[in-house]
Symmetry: none
Subunit: 424 residues, 2 copies
C-alpha cells in the first residue's frame, strides 16, 4: 500500500505576476512530480512581497505534504523567499559562514570576486538545510513545516531543474513510496469535443483511476489519460486497458498520441505504402505543403506543391480551364476538382490535395462566406471534393489551419480505407 | 484621483496543474490589467475539482476587487467553473433557454447540429450575467461576490482574448479610473540581441521610465518599452520620446511593432509600390508562401509559389537545368539562382524568392552541413544569392523558420533600398 502525496507549487516574482515572463517552472515540476506519483493541487504565483509569500507557504503546508517554491533566492532586495519561509516556520534567519565560502568559491572558479551582496544567499531559516547549487550562486533550502516538507529552489530554470533532479527527486520518490503516475494523450480529429465527450462520458466520471479528460485546440481534441499505480507496470497496465477501450469507441477519430501531428501520421502511412503526394493550394497558401515537409524524411513521399493564388497560375500550372474559373469562380467545387486532378497529372503523384476557399477576413459574400473551403483529393480512382463551412468567426490564420488539418485528415482516412466524417 | 485596484487570476484545468499545458493566459491577462493600472496579487492554477475551485474563488474575492477566471467552461463533465462559481456565490445554477438558442445558432452557422451536451454551457449562476462568445460556444460569466467583480472566461486563448478585449477591459478600465501604463514592442531582425543591447544599453538602465528590455525568439529581437504616467497622454508621450531615440539608433533593424510580422511589412511595401512576388521553395517547403499569404489582402501582390522538393519538379516547374543539379547538387548557389530566375520568368512577378538548403536533422555532410541554406532574390536588375549557415544546433522547424525570415527580410531591405546585414 502507498499513501498518495500531494504537492503545491509556488513561484515567486514580480516579472511573473506582471505577466512579463511566463512561468514554465511549475509545468515542468508538475510533470516531474507526476512521474513519481505525486499529484499537484495547485500552482500559485506571488509577487515579491514578504507577507503574501509567507501566507501562501502556510496555506500550502496546511493542504499538501510537499511544497515546492521557485524563485526569490537571488542576492537583491526583492528576493524574499528566505525571509518569508523563516516567517512561515516561525524562526529567525541565520548566516552560515561556510556557505558564504562556497558562494565565494563559485565566483573564484569563474575568475571573479564575490560581490558583497551575494553573502545574503548564505542566510537560512534556523533548522533548515541548505541545498548545493552546482550551476549558480543561490543555494536551495529544505525545511519542514509541521507534516510538510518544503523545498525552495532557484527561479532560473536550468539551476532549478538541476537541483530538483539531484537533491529533490530522490527524497520525494522515496517518500512517495514508489507510487507512479503515467499519462498519455490520444489526439483526435474530425469530431467535436462534446461528441467525443459523449462517447466516453462514463470513463470521464470523477474518482476513477485512470482519469480521462478532454482538451480542444484548433479542431484537434486531445483525450488525456492519467493512471496511478503502486508501480510503473501497474499504472501502465491500467492506462492501457482504458486506452484500448477509448480506441474501441473513437476508432478513426484518433489519429495519434502525445505530440504526434496529422502530417507525421500521413507521412508514415504514405511511406509505409510507398505512395507519394503533391499539393495544389489557393486559400491555404502553402500551409499544407509546409506541414507535410515539416516532417523529417518527407522528401521520400512529398514530390511538389504549388500555391496558385492568381487565376493565371491555376490555368498555367494546373491546367484549370479559364472558362471554368470564369463560370464558377475560383472558390468552387469544379475548380477544386480541376486543381487536384491537374496537380496529380503534372506531378505524377499517387495522391493530390487541393484547397480553394475564402480565408477572410475580406472577400466573403452571401453565397460564398468567409470560411467556405473546397478540398479536393485525387487518386487513381478519381477525385472527391468536399465542401466545408469552417466558421466565419474564426480568424484567417485559424481558418487556414483548420482547412489544412481537414485536408490532411481526409488523406489519412483515405490511406486507412476509413470513410470518416461526412463533409460539413 | 483614482483608487488602486488589485486582481487575482485563476486558471482552471488538470492539463495545467499536471504541467501538460503551460498557462499563458495569466501572463497575457496580467499585461492587459497593467495597461489599465490594475495590479495582480497572484495567479492560481487549480485542478478540475469543484471544492478547490470554489475555495480559491472565495479567497480571491476576499483579497481583490477583480477576479478573472479562465477555463472550465467547456461542455464536458470536467468543466466545473460554473458550479464552483455558483457555490462561491451561494446561489443555484439556472438554465437560460435564450442562451441555448445562441449556442445552437453558433453550430447552425457552421452547418452542424448542436450536440445536447453543449446545452450545459447555457447554465449560469442565478444573478450572474452571461457574456457573449463571438468565436466559440462557451459564453463567459460576469458576477459579483461582495465587493468584488468576477469574470469567468473561456480557457481557449483566442476566445479568452477576444472576450476580454470586448467585454471585460472596458468595464475594468472605467472602474480603475484611467490608464497608467502603456507598452510597445519594436521588432528587429538582422542583428543579435547583444548587438542591439549594446546600442541601447543606456536606455535599458534600471530605474528609468520608460523601462526598456529585450527578448529574443527565432532570430527576432523584440525591444519592449513600458512607460508609466499619471494619464494615458503622459505615458504615451514618454514612450514616444524613447521610441524615437531607439529608432534613430537601430534604423533598418526595426521592421515593425507589436504583433506586426515581417510578411505583413513586406506585403505593405509591395502593395504600396504596386509590385508582385512569387516564391520557389525547396528546404522551406512552402513556409515562405504560407507566411506571405497569411496576410489578408495578399492576393494583391502574391502571384504564385512552388514547392519543388524533387529534382524533377525543379526542372519541370522552374526550368533548372538537369546538368546544373547533377554538377552542383540541389543545395548550391547556381541552383538557388536558377530557381529564383526560373520562378520570376514563369510567374512574371517583379520579385522572386528562392530557398534551397538542408533543414535536417538528416542529410548533412561536411561540405554541406545541416543549416546550410542558399537564398535567391531575383528582380529586373538580376539575381543575388546569399549563403547562410543557420546553425546546426537548431532543429528542423527552427532552421526553416529562420531561413524564411531571412528571405523575407532581404526582400524588405531591397524594397526599402537599404543594404542591411551582410550575408553570414
Amino acid at each position: 500500500m502507498f499513501t498518495p502525496m500531494d504537492a503545491v507549487l509556488l513561484s515567486i516574482g514580480n516579472e511573473l505576476t506582471l505577466g512579463e515572463t511566463v512561468d514554465t517552472n511549475s509545468a515542468w515540476l508538475a510533470q516531474r512530480l507526476a512521474e513519481i506519483g505525486i499529484g499537484v493541487l495547485r500552482h500559485v504565483t506571488v509577487a515579491d512581497e514578504i507577507d503574501p509569500i509567507r501566507r501562501q507557504i502556510e496555506m500550502a503546508a496546511a493542504d499538501a505534504e510537499v511544497v515546492l517554491i521557485t524563485g526569490g533566492l537571488g542576492p537583491t532586495a526583492d528576493d524574499l523567499t528566505r525571509n518569508a519561509l523563516a516567517a512561515a516556520m516561525g524562526v529567525e534567519l541565520v548566516l552560515r559562514p561556510e556557505w558564504v565560502e562556497r558562494i565565494r568559491v563559485f565566483f573564484t572558479g569563474r575568475g571573479r570576486d564575490m560581490p558583497e551582496a551575494n553573502a545574503v544567499q548564505a542566510v537560512f531559516p534556523v533548522g533548515s538545510d541548505p541545498i548545493e547549487n552546482t550551476c549558480g550562486t543561490a543555494p536551495g533550502i529544505r525545511a519542514l513545516i509541521r507534516r510538510s516538507i518544503v523545498f525552495a529552489l532557484p527561479g532560473v530554470p536550468r539551476e532549478m531543474r538541476e537541483m530538483f533532479e539531484r537533491s529533490v527527486r530522490p527524497e520525494l520518490a522515496s517518500a512517495a513510496g514508489g507510487a507512479v503516475l503515467v499519462a498519455t494523450v490520444l489526439n483526435c480529429f474530425g469530431a467535436g469535443e462534446s461528441d467525443i465527450g459523449e462517447k466516453i462520458a462514463d470513463l470521464m466520471a470523477r474518482g476513477r483511476n485512470p482519469t480521462v479528460g478532454t482538451t480542444a485546440k484548433q479542431g484537434i481534441i486531445g483525450v488525456r489519460i492519467h493512471s496511478r499505480g503502486r508501480s510503473a507496470d501497474e499504472a501502465r497496465e491500467l492506462l492501457e486497458r482504458t486506452e484500448v477501450e477509448i480506441r474501441r469507441r473513437l476508432r478513426w477519430m484518433i489519429y495519434g498520441r502525445d505530440s504526434e501531428t496529422l502530417a507525421e501520421v500521413v507521412g508514415r502511412l504514405l511511406a509505409a505504402g510507398g505512395k507519394t503526394v503533391a499539393t495544389a493550394e489557393s486559400c491555404t497558401g502553402g500551409l499544407i505543403a509546409q506541414k507535410l515537409t515539416d516532417v523529417s524524411g518527407s522528401s521520400q513521399y512529398f514530390l511538389e506543391g504549388v500555391v496558385t493564388y492568381s487565376n493565371a497560375a491555376k490555368t498555367r500550372m494546373l491546367g484549370v480551364p479559364a472558362n471554368l474559373l470564369a463560370e464558377h469562380g475560383a472558390v468552387s467545387e469544379p475548380v477544386a476538382r480541376a486543381m487536384a486532378e491537374g496537380c496529380r497529372k503534372a506531378s505524377a503523384a499517387d495522391y493530390a490535395i487541393s484547397a480553394t476557399g475564402i480565408a477572410g477576413p475580406k472577400g466573403g459574400s452571401t453565397d460564398k462566406p468567409v470560411g467556405l473551403v473546397y478540398l479536393g483529393l485525387a487518386d487513381a480512382a478519381g477525385c472527391e471534393v468536399t465542401r466545408h463551412l469552417i466558421g466565419r468567426f474564426l480568424d484567417r490564420t485559424d481558418i487556414r489551419e483548420r482547412a489544412a488539418s481537414i485536408a490532411l485528415n481526409r488523406l489519412r482516412l483515405r490511406l486507412l480505407g476509413e470513410p470518416g466524417e461526412p463533409s460539413r
